[in-house]
Symmetry: C2
Subunit: 122 residues, 2 copies
């Protein structure tokens, strides 16, 4: 049975920040939902491009080699593989991520914020 | 230079229905924006899963083997590869698609609604 996902309901099903939930599989990619608050760690993904679509809040995406990009609801950015970035939630965010299944949240960094075996929505 | 895309601005940049525009690349997948009006053709994609995220309007996704799924803004559905489906816009829709670059809009069907060499946003 193929069913839909309502983003508002799905976001209301968890509170944990910086811990993406898997909401669906599209071939070798996944749609993930994440709540972001404050700043994350600088990291990059060797092989994975990563799309951030803002649903609520405000996100500042920082880069080493260019000015930060500020995103609000209804805006998205694709961070290419290999590009070091740091997401900073200026206002607590609800974000849709679209990225390969192999993507680790902290990329090339492993620390206490690394999350493996992501939980699934529902 | 990595920049963001504002969905409202991007949707306002074209009028054509059933003719997805490419708005970004994420590894072997693409984010596409489509305006839908009325009903499309029954089709399936042999190898490609396809995500539909509704931004505006109302979409009814019809299937051969189950009841249709009705989607409104902020709701998404993943149609697995091989599953015959027919999108019907009950109210004119703006839809975000996430799917492999190889996805042809009419899947296994080729007719006057088939679109090749999709235009890109901006």
């Amino acid at each position: 049975m193929i069913d839909k996902t309502n983003l508002a309901e799905a976001f209301s099903s968890f509170d944990e920040t910086w811990s993406p939930r898997v909401a669906g599989d599209i071939n070798e990619m996944q749609i993930k939902l994440a709540k972001l608050e404050g700043e994350f760690v600088w990291h990059s993904h060797s092989h994975e491009d990563e799309l951030f679509l803002i649903i609520r809040g405000r996100l500042r995406m920082e880069f080493r080699d260019q000015q930060p990009v500020k995103l609000g609801p209804g805006e998205f950015i694709v961070v290419p593989s290999g590009v070091e970035h740091r997401p900073v939630a200026e206002i607590s965010c609800e974000v849709v991520l679209f990225e390969p299944k192999t993507t680790l949240n902290t990329g090339n960094i492993e620390n206490e914020r690394t999350v493996r075996d992501l939980e699934r929505i529902r």
